[in-house]
Symmetry: C2
Subunit: 185 residues, 2 copies
DNA sequence: TGGAACATGTAAGGGGTTACATGATTCA
DNA sequence: TGAATCATGTAACCCCTTACATGTTCCA
């Protein structure tokens, strides 16, 4: 039940249409959640039927026209309840370590190359996040909202750095084994 | 499509029944994937119908009796294909940073306490993983399978350490704000 | 005016979560 | 023999993913 609350948060930060929300999920919210436009439109419909959000007056009723939404008081109250809820951490879910473990049984194949590729993709993402940080938080943030958004961004940065560190070690140890000629790359 | 392959891996490592698999998922495989017994039984049925696994001869046909499965050649081949597949990294999905971001808009409430609670839970899990490491890998592992399993475990350890580091920083910065009296705890 | 890009929406299929059900085993 | 536990299994619901569909706006 995180998507509706992520949408409520985004709409409180700034009233938006479905396509704008999709773009914002690809960017700042995407550090820890992703959503396709289909999910977002379906969820917007649900939230509107539940009277937690409404379309801004003057919204076009037809298909293909932008429809802007804003959060109603009931929506904000629901979000407060969600923030204050006690909820245990979920186990991370990532196929790559699983594939590595499978490779321990059936052989490495080209998996070390795949690990290198992932390491490089994470490096790219890390660089992108660091660029966001330089651009959006050049100085100590003033408001609580900015400080919290910065914290979340640094969570994304730490996460990417962690992956890179682990993948580097894995590539290092496994390429020794694969080649017998010492680490590559 | 990771669960069936996680099950194939586990069964190759050691033929097991559904309940045994459930316990093994709670332990070593669970660093990066979790599954309930319902998921596992459903998936075992699918894998058996697809003739990727079979019940060991002498398995009891009735309900309530243990049924041990082993992997067939086709199952191993499917696992090899999965390991060699090229698949991009997924975005992490975690509600806690989202809740933090929501708190930036609607107010912190008791969220800092919740962050402390999560930090402590991650500390417990980290300690548990480190205990596994001490117990299961006291010396340099000899086989590829052991080295890979150790790498996966260290991935879990790194991940937990990353969470603890981030949560500590978040608690530190936000408790200053919440109290105005400097960091607590 | 016609094609490309944009915006919203529908539908199908699969995985995950939760609640519940049934047979077997164990043991007081 | 009856309750507790174990092992397997069924069912319902919701979210996520992918493919596809329809209307609008922009612009060469």
């Amino acid at each position: 039940m995180s998507l509706p609350h992520a949408i409520l948060t985004a709409l409180l930060e700034k009233p938006s249409s479905g396509s704008e929300l999709t773009r914002r999920f690809d960017r700042s919210i995407g550090y820890f959640w992703s959503a396709t436009h289909q999910q977002i439109y379906r969820e917007l419909g649900k939230l509107e039927r539940a009277e937690l959000i409404r379309t801004l007056p003057g919204g076009a009723p037809t298909r293909g026209q932008k429809k802007e939404y804003e959060v109603l008081a009931a929506g904000r109250e629901e979000l407060v309840r969600w923030v204050d809820r006690r909820e245990d951490p979920k186990v991370a879910r990532d196929p790559l370590p699983l594939r590595l473990r499978a490779a321990g049984v059936v052989g490495l194949g080209d998996l070390v190359d795949e690990l290198r590729r992932h390491r490089d993709l994470h490096r790219d993402r890390l660089e992108e996040y660091r660029e966001f940080e330089r651009r959006d938080y050049p100085a100590e943030p003033a408001t609580r909202q900015e400080r919290v958004q910065w914290l979340v961004l640094r969570g994304g940065i730490d996460m990417e750095a962690g992956w890179i560190s682990w993948l580097t070690r894995a590539v290092d140890e496994l390429s020794e084994e694969a080649s017998g000629r010492g680490p590559r790359s």
